[in-house]
């Protein structure tokens, strides 16, 4: 048996608290990507941004849903970059609609894309490309309200032998990307299962990356299944353990989606005063996500709990 060849002497420990991670990496005026497609939405991180009173953020999020509405109502957001602004299938985002429809209490800049437009912006960002081509937008009115979406001519003839045009989108390189995941090791090797969405690209596109996880696990857990790592440590700056941090969204295998909360949000957010009271009570009035969770109560957590459906292990093999 040989001795290990490149066993590092140590691995950096990037674990920190949510308060410190947000304070260190989310600054006023920054562009912040919060991603997670219905699954693993970084809600707890959004709440901490509200608690710390960040201002003038540009928020990028494909599906701008409850946490986005809360950030807007919390006074944190100057501009939203998104491809879907709705409370999932459960109704409307009251604050977002008020800002856009009435400009009250203050206007919200909105940069509109399709889902694949956003995906391609992250792809270009992660790959440090000047643009990314896609077969959407031809004939749409969206480019007329979003001058960032442009057209170019391919240097190859099209199928009909004539020059071929295609739309492109510019890269999105957030100052910080925040994602939620099931687990990571201390160094930031981040593992996600179930819907993996755009998390890897949003992370690689960013200057700084905060990963919020249900569990910080031992190195050996991660290393037993390296294909499960969606974002490697070299792309991660801070690791925050925050159980139930995606509520009311779900974390596959950890807890289910809180459908009641989604349905309730349409009512809460419809009334601006009620919405501010909700923020005062649930976000500004709680010190951290642990207090939010305690307030939510064991009954809710019980209602959202899930049973077991374990993956069959695979053999990575070992040299004999």
């Amino acid at each position: 048996m040989h001795k290990p060849v490149a066993e590092p002497v140590r691995r950096p420990d990037k674990t920190t608290t949510m308060r410190e991670a947000i304070a260190a990496h989310v600054t006023d005026g920054a562009t912040v990507a919060l991603e997670g497609f219905t699954h693993l939405i970084p809600t707890a991180a959004g709440h901490e941004i509200i608690r710390q009173g960040r201002r003038d953020l540009t928020v990028a999020r494909m599906t701008a849903d409850i946490v986005t509405d809360q950030l807007i109502a919390g006074g944190c957001v100057r501009k939203l970059v998104s491809s879907f602004v709705g409370n999932s299938t459960a109704g409307s985002l009251g604050e977002l609609r008020r800002r856009i429809e009435t400009g009250q209490p203050e206007p919200l800049e909105y940069e509109e894309y399709s889902h694949y437009g956003m995906i391609c912006r992250y792809l270009a960002g992660a790959q440090r490309l000047p643009f990314y081509p896609l077969r959407s937008y031809a004939g749409s009115d969206v480019p007329s309200v979003n001058p960032g979406i442009r057209k170019l001519t391919s240097p190859y003839p099209g199928p009909d032998g004539e020059p071929e045009q295609i739309y492109v989108v510019p890269p999105l390189n957030p100052d910080v990307t925040i994602i939620h995941a099931q687990r990571a090791d201390r160094a930031g090797n981040t593992q996600i299962w179930g819907l993996t969405g755009i998390q890897a690209e949003a992370a690689y596109a960013a200057r700084k990356v905060i990963v919020v996880v249900e569990e910080v696990v031992a190195d050996e857990v991660v290393r037993s299944d390296p294909n499960r790592t969606v974002v490697p440590a070299h792309a991660v700056d801070a690791v925050v353990e925050c159980p139930h941090g995606a509520h009311p969204a779900f974390a596959q295998g950890y807890y289910d989606r809180d459908g009641e909360f989604y349905r309730g949000w349409s009512h809460i957010s419809k009334d601006p005063e009620r919405l501010q009271r909700w923020l005062d009570e649930w976000v500004r009035g709680t010190a951290d996500h642990a207090e939010y969770l305690a307030k939510l109560g064991a009954g809710t957590r019980q209602r959202l709990s899930v049973g077991e459906a374990w993956s069959e292990p695979v053999n990575y093999g070992r040299r004999l």
């Binding site: 219905t38 699954h39 031809a138 749409s140 099209g158 819907l195 989606r257 459906a309």
Partner: protein
Amino acid sequence: MNTGAVTSSELLAAVASRELAGKNTVFAGIGLPTLAVSLAQLTVAPDVEIVYESGVCGAHPSHLPETIADSVLITGSEAVLSMPALFGYVLQGGRIDVGFLGAAQIDRWGNLNSSVIGEWDAPKVRLPGSGGAMEVMANSREVFVVMRRHDPRSLPAELDFCTSPGPDRALRDGIRPRGAGVTRVITDLGILARDGVGEELRLVATHPGVTVEQVRAATGWDLAVADELATVEPPTEAELGLLRAQVDPDRVYLR
């Protein structure tokens, strides 16, 4: 079983399901589209596969899913794709036969608006926007639209804003379209159809008891009518039985 008690949802789901004969891959959202596909799997298209916008392929849900990302769609599914793979390789890769879309407005060319009512920069109503609808429209071989309410506000002469354009608008933008765009609009009054580029939607069938004049009055443009107008066959007892007993026994979407 009394077919007089057929609900609008049952009608729309059954009619839509029949259009899926011979199709392999369907891109569908939760609600009427999934009811239609689930029924088709039990009737005319046993091998048809739903691909969900969340990235799930070959779902085998233990419960009726509430969203396209419901955890019950993921557990026990055959594959879960990242967003770049789902949108890039499956949708733009041209792997979808039929995409189901909804919209606040559809015009005579099958162009869709899901962004705003009113002006884009000062809208009366801000709607959710494209999501993946633009990609479904641009890349599916054809698109089916199911509209619960057929009225001139939903089927106007002019869209307030075109979010997801059909192939005619793409052509005018100098870009060769790939799919046929909207080929079927299934509403509570009947079925509108078009084959592809250059064609307007025409009324091809009405539900029993619905007159052409009723449909034309409910449409915001001067609706053309097919030479051979059909009457939609109402849901059969077999279709209703499957919908009610197997597809949505708790009537979550069969409202």
